[in-house]
């Protein structure tokens, strides 16, 4: 049976903050917009973002966009593109006021202005005193942004394909993107969505690791779709690990616990951070604390029967303070590890949190790929924003509060460029029948019985492999072994089968398609990590402990057909002087 066909001006894949911000801009410009989301839009992972969104409003302490720009470049360990970073930091105040206008209930100061809290990596005067730059709606900022944008989209008559899974991009012979093949999870029926422009906004892929903070749905679907369409992924070796995830479960225990005086101990009861960071101790930066925890465990000083975690102690803070300042942490620990932090320490291990790399774009959100003539040639009709994209504003390490900013600023910028593109491309291009065949076969393949390999087992094996061979600490031999193992898992996956061939809400089939995506993304991560022989930001090589700007101040590009390639970092900002690389100390 031929799949149903639908036509829209614009197709947005993914309904987190980035996708919904772009969809709203498009719909308000009178474009017909389809948003495809594999879960209900307000259950996208943006809902989990608690921290806030950075903007130099200067409501609490002096601030300006240029200081924000410096902090972001330094935080990126100089791998971020300075034109995109200047654009984002200049646009930030306006983006926050727009969110306020859309209905986000930002927390307020007594004078009525938006409250701003201090986060790590924020400074005044280019590296001076602490700044306060993060605007928040209590501890529900992501939730508030997502709901406001969803309501605005309903008002603007955006068409939602809820609980639809995007299989692949549809392209003509010249490589132009003409939409996507999706299927309705509720019925199993596939739908061809033709569009003049397509935006990928599918979020991150920390699910490639066993211990991670992400929802199960964060499987890098858009990244893998780009890879299969021949687009490389950029800087995939840079994955941010948060030092204090609940061991074996992954959910985040906020830095606020250590900010209030909580500290880490090893299996010998020692406060080991004193050895790694004598001044900042437990409040050293995320990458330093993560590496210290893993070193303790590797050297046999872990806790528990398998010595595979360390402990976060806060019982000395007293019940009153814990209830007042850290109630959510107490509830989380009691619920998930039966530990009441008033008496018991919390078992913790570094947890994969954020994918800095992704689909390469310019600051208009256009997906760019190298050609024989140029390192950054736009892929016609294709855009990407948010965690699935790499614009690149986070470089080798993202600062807290910059990811919600990234999605709203570039969601809007990409939509504006798409609107201009639509004005110049008024008609749908013909979609060749052959374009649908490959993606269709990828779906139908799971209806056939094949070998014995089980999808859930392979997913667990992939996640364990990535944690062991491409985790917090990396070295050549284990990375090379990791590449071989991930390749082997991909081969086994070709022979995997699912037992359930029903049509209606077949979760097993969705999970199989997600695992194919995860395995492609994992290969990009481990291959890029094996190739980069330096340490920069979140990429920490035991065998190459220093940053090497002479050889490695460049973006990695991984493609399925050609492996590794590189392109220069965009060092030149839009209007101001460049910030040259310096040693990164805090």
């Amino acid at each position: 049976m031929r799949p149903e066909r639908r036509r829209f001006d614009a197709l947005v894949i993914g309904a987190g903050g980035g996708g919904l911000r772009a969809a709203l801009q498009l719909a308000n410009a009178e474009a017909t917009v389809a948003v495809v989301s594999k879960v209900f839009p307000t259950r996208s992972h943006t809902v989990a973002a608690q921290g806030g969104v950075n903007a130099s409003l200067a409501n609490v302490l002096p601030d300006n966009w240029h200081w924000h720009m410096f902090d972001t470049i330094k935080g990126s360990d100089y791998l971020g593109d300075q034109d995109a970073i200047e654009y984002m930091c200049r646009a930030a105040p306006k983006a926050v006021y727009e969110l306020e206008h859309f209905g986000v209930p930002f927390s307020r100061l007594e004078n009525g202005r938006i409250y701003q809290r201090a986060f790590g990596g924020q400074s005044q005067h280019f590296g001076g005193e602490q700044a306060a730059r993060t605007c928040a709606a209590a501890d529900r900022t992501g939730h508030a942004i997502l709901h406001s944008l969803y309501q605005q989209n309903i008002r603007a008559r955006t068409h939602f394909f809820d609980e639809h899974f995007a299989l692949d991009l549809l392209r003509d012979e010249s490589g132009r993107v003409l939409g996507a093949l999706v299927f309705d999870i509720a019925t199993g029926e596939s739908v061809v969505i033709e569009a003049k422009v397509t935006l990928l906004a599918t979020g991150g892929a920390a699910q490639v690791y066993r211990t991670n903070t992400n929802a199960l749905i964060n499987t890098g679907d858009g990244m893998a779709m780009a890879l299969r369409a021949g687009v490389p992924l950029q800087d995939m070796e840079f994955v941010q690990f948060h030092p204090t995830g609940i061991a074996g479960k992954g959910m985040l225990i906020t830095e606020g616990v250590r900010g209030e005086g909580g500290y880490l101990v090893n299996g010998e009861g020692e406060r080991f951070m004193e050895r790694y960071a004598p001044n900042a101790r437990d409040l050293a930066s995320r990458d330093v604390v993560s590496r210290a925890i893993v070193t303790e465990i590797r050297e046999g000083r872990g806790c528990g029967p398998r010595r595979d975690h360390v402990l976060l102690k806060l019982d000395h803070l007293g019940e009153a303070l814990i209830n007042r300042r850290l109630p959510a942490i107490r509830e989380t620990a009691r619920t998930f590890v039966n530990a009441d932090p008033v008496r018991d320490p919390i078992p913790v291990f570094p947890t994969a949190h954020y994918t800095m790399g992704g689909i390469p774009t310019n600051r208009h959100g256009q997906v760019v790929a190298p050609t024989a003539d140029a390192p950054e040639e736009p892929v016609e009709g294709l855009y990407a924003v948010g965690e699935c994209a790499c614009v690149s504003v986070h470089g080798a390490n993202r600062l807290g509060g910059n990811s919600l900013l990234d999605i709203v600023v570039f969601g809007r910028a990409a939509a504006n460029h798409m609107i201009d593109y639509l004005a110049e491309h008024r008609y749908h291009r013909p979609l060749p029948e052959a374009a649908v065949e490959g993606p269709r076969a990828r779906l139908d393949r799971w209806d056939e019985a094949r070998g014995e390999a089980s999808v859930p087992e392979l997913r667990r094996e992939l996640q364990r492999t990535m944690e062991e061979y491409a985790g917090v600490f990396r070295e050549q031999e284990s990375l090379d072994e990791g590449v071989a193992r991930v390749r082997a898992i991909r081969e086994q996956l070709e022979l995997a089968a699912i037992g359930d061939h029903s049509r209606v809400f077949n979760t097993a089939r969705v999970e199989a398609l997600e695992l194919v995506n995860l395995a492609d993304v994992a290969l990009a991560v481990v291959t890029s990590a094996a190739a980069r022989r330096e340490s920069r930001g979140a990429h920490s090589r035991v065998d190459h402990p220093d940053r090497d700007d002479a050889r490695w101040l460049k973006h990695s590009l991984f493609s399925l057909a050609e492996g590794m390639d590189y392109k220069p970092v965009r060092i030149k900002p839009l209007t101001v002087d460049s910030f040259p690389p310096k040693e990164r100390t805090y």
Partner: protein, 85 residues
């Protein structure tokens, strides 16, 4: 007889996939272990629970707030009990 689509186990199982890891880790294992043993009324309460927004659901499942509906509250208690074990 047509199945009541609202409490179809396949649909309920799929809708346990949420936007937050905390919710996934409580709802997905609960559905795997307990869904088949729920009667129609309990399944209805579970379906109603899954209609809630993620932030509300998190408040319930961490024990910060309680749902008004007694059947939903009973399901919340079972999920919470299973999560800590």
């Amino acid at each position: 007889m047509a199945r009541d689509a609202r409490i179809d186990p396949a649909r309920l199982r799929f809708r346990c996939r949420r936007g937050m890891r905390e919710l996934d880790l409580m709802l997905v294992p609960f559905a795997e272990r307990a869904l088949d043993g729920l009667d129609a009324r309990e399944r209805g309460a579970f379906a109603e629970l899954l209609e809630a927004e993620d932030a509300v659901l998190l408040g319930w499942l961490l024990g910060r707030e309680e749902p008004e509906d007694r059947d939903v509250a009973a399901i919340v208690e079972r999920i919470r009990h299973a999560a800590g074990s």
